[in-house]
Structures are given as C-alpha cells and as structure tokens.
Symmetry: C2
C-alpha cells in the first residue's frame, strides 16, 4: 500500500480522493482541511485534520490548494525530506518549499463539483526532482489513470497555455456563436452536431488537415459578406484576426 | 412517394442520395452529373443523366452544386413553376432562377467523402417562398432527419457565420494548441480529454456559464506570464484579443 496524505479539500482534491479510494494499492492516511468537514465525503470522514502539526507519516503528501497558497502551506509543514507534490498546472515545482523532496502530480482536466468524472481517462502529468520519487508518483498515477506523462515545469507551462487556447478560448467562441444565434432567433442546438463533429475530426486528423471554411479557401467574397453582416466590432475584430491567422498559416504550408 | 431529382454529385449530394434511398417514402428519380458516373454509388447507377434537357418530372429538384454554379444551373433548367431548392448554407434563396418556385434544403454539417454520417442527427434548415412547398420539404426532411428547422435566408447567413466561429475558428485554436505542444515536445493527445469535456459541458450549460480560465478570473499574473512565454506574435495577439473579449463580456454580466 502506498500511503497518501491529501492537503486541501477543493474540487481536484475531492475527485482525487475518490479515485485513490477506488484502488486497492493506495491508501488515504489523512486529509487536511482548514475547516473540518462533517457532511461531505463520507469516505474519509474519520481521517480529517485541521492542524498541520497533526499530520502523520505518509509516502506522499499531495498539496491540492490554490496556486497562491502552495508556497505558504508547504513551508508550514513540520517535517523534512519527504515527497511533497502539488496538483497545479500553472505552478512551478519550485513553489514547494525545498526542505522536502518536491514533485508535481497534475491531472489535466476541468473538474466541476457536481459532475462525476472517469479518472481513468484523465491524463496525469508528473514531475519530480529525482528518479526514485518519479517511480513512486508513477505507481500512484497508474493506479488511477491510463494516461500518465512525464512533463517538466516549462512543458507544463506550455501545456497550460495550450489548454487556454483549446478550452477557455474555444468556449468563448462557442459563446460568440451562441450570441449570434440569439440575436437572430436561431436555436443554438442547431450547431451542436457541427461542434461535436469538429472535435471528432481531430481525433483522426491533424487540426491543420481538418481546417475548412472561407478563410482557408481564400473565399474573399464570403469573408467580406460576413464582415459586413457582423455589427459587433469585437466579433468583427476576432473574425478578421483568426481569418488572417488561418490564411498566413496556409501560406507557410 | 415523393419524387426527388438530385442535380449535382458532390459530397453533400452523395450523402443525401444515400439518406433518401433509405426512406420508403422517398424516391430518387434521376441524378444529374456533368460526367456520367459509372463506378461509384451503385444505388443510382441506372438513373444518371448528363444533359439537363433529359430531366423528367419530379416533385422536388435539389440542386447540390458549388455556390457559384447555383445561378447558372438553375437558369438552364428547361421547365417552370416547379419546386427547385439548393443545399447551400451561404447562398440566398434568390440565387435560384425565379422561373421556378424556390426553396432551400440545407443540411448543417461538414461532410467528408469517406466518412459515414448518421443523417438522422443532422439538422436540416428549410426555407421556401410559399407554405405548401414548405410542407413538401418538411415531409422530405423528416424522413431523413430528426432535426428540422425553418430558417430564413438572413438567419441562414447568421447561422453560417456562427458556424465559422464554432467550427473553422475553433479548429484553428486546436491547431495553435497543437503547435504549442509540438514546440515543447508534448504529445497533443494529452489535451484530447479536455477538448472533449469542453464540448460536453455546453450540452448542459450555456457557454457563458461554462467559461473558466485566467481571463474570466482576471488573473493578471497568469495572463502576463503566458504572454511573456508566447514568442509567436500572432499567437500573442490572438491570446490578448480573446482574453480582452472574455473580460469585456464579463463586465457586462
């Protein structure tokens, strides 16, 4: 059994605890939370502590708190030379206090409180300072997910930025699409099959090969008529910049 | 039986022919193609014509050719006062020659030649000049799809623009995400579950409610560090404009 102490009880921590609990090879020793939890998460109800000094011996300490709190909470731990990792996509491994052996255990997914998630399908990105610790994290990760990757801090930063493009910005384009529909009394659901197919396509094709539309066809007449139609200056601006980006990219092919 | 003549033999026409052929209530009378097809599509092998003057009587004539060719081919038809429709998302109903009763039969999906598609799930957008013709198109559409909508030409234009945002532009953001991964030796597949979840979310949430990330949190520190990391001026520009758009929108909430 690998003994795991979870520090923090936010969305990521709660999903992680459930996943760890489903494995016979892993054991949650304790869960630290500033406010003792009574109602939620009966799995670990008897193992909550609200004082860092009460933390007992474990193989790994997983800090799952806000980015800003990682430095502080890792410095407050009253032990040394243990394996302490965080779960953040946007924090460096350096944010963990160096009195312990540091690592990162980052599950790359958007977690929502009330939505069940199949952890087996979530990619877990690992980083450690030494190879033995990597082995430990890898053993844990493979118990709860089928997709485990060795990702350095600079790579994780790049990954986080790429995630902003394919998740945050994509969702914003869905928003703009839904606004254009609303303004014209069109049910947004008409676009759902197209949205799903856009994702399906890149499971087998490179995004570059999957590109369609007036920009890549260099269909100036359609592009001009779209720009004329768009009254919202912001949408028009985004339309122009993304069209130009598609066209400039095609030239480079 | 509703008798349908298909004019054109591109991607959309071929998928449409298959779907029509699966219905007991619909019949393909003829398929016009400039070059007579011999190998492909055995379903209608005996019904090809390559001369518009050979077209026989039908209830509906579906023109499925490139946008630019609709005007010309509809003017070349040697009959009048029949129901003639096109399948284009970006052409007005007016592009069909007015000697016939005009309509639009637009299946909103990206069709690829070698990919089977479940037509039942494809939204079909209909428009006609008079109510009886609408009934005819609706009867046909409901035989092949579960999702039929009455969409005017201005609405169809708006829909096409919205589709550019949620399909073409979204795919380009996937491309940028994949490029950032490549440049940093990260397998793009790490992002696949996140990409899928982004789409799953808006099946139950409005895109506005599903928005996450540094822009909507107004997390200036993360945004600045991302901009510093991005060397490509084009990516940086897109990052800034979409971030600003998310932030300006949030203020309006």
């Amino acid at each position: 059994m690998i003994k795991i102490c979870v520090i923090g009880f936010g969305n990521v921590a709660q999903h992680l605890i459930k996943a760890v609990n489903n494995s016979d090879l892993l054991e949650i020793t304790q869960v630290y939370s500033r406010t003792i939890q009574t109602e939620s998460n009966r799995i670990v109800l008897d193992r909550f502590v609200n004082d860092l000094d009460l933390i007992k011996d474990a193989d790994v300490y997983i800090i799952s708190v806000t980015d800003d709190a990682i430095r502080h909470i890792s410095s407050e731990l009253n032990f040394e030379n243990k394996l302490v990792v965080h779960t953040s996509g946007s924090s460096s491994i350096e944010n963990i206090n160096s009195k312990n052996r540091r690592g990162v255990f980052y599950p790359l997914q958007t977690f929502s409180k009330n939505k069940e998630i199949d952890f087996k399908e979530i990619p877990i990105c690992l980083e450690t300072e030494n190879p033995e610790d990597y082995k430990t994290l890898e053993n844990i990760a493979k118990c709860i997910s089928n997709h485990v990757f060795n990702i350095s801090s600079p790579q994780r930063k790049a990954l986080h930025i790429a995630a902003v493009f394919v998740n945050n910005f994509v969702n914003h384009l869905y928003f703009i699409g839904s606004e254009i529909c609303k303004e014209n009394d069109i049910p947004f659901e008409i676009l759902q099959p197209l949205i799903s197919e856009t994702v399906e396509k890149i499971k087998t094709l490179e995004p570059q090969a999957a590109q369609t539309g007036p920009a890549i066809r260099n269909d100036i007449r359609t592009i001009d008529s779209h720009l004329l139609f768009l009254q919202n200056e912001n949408y028009k601006n985004i339309y122009q910049i993304l069209t130009r980006s598609i066209q400039n990219h095609v030239k480079k092919l």
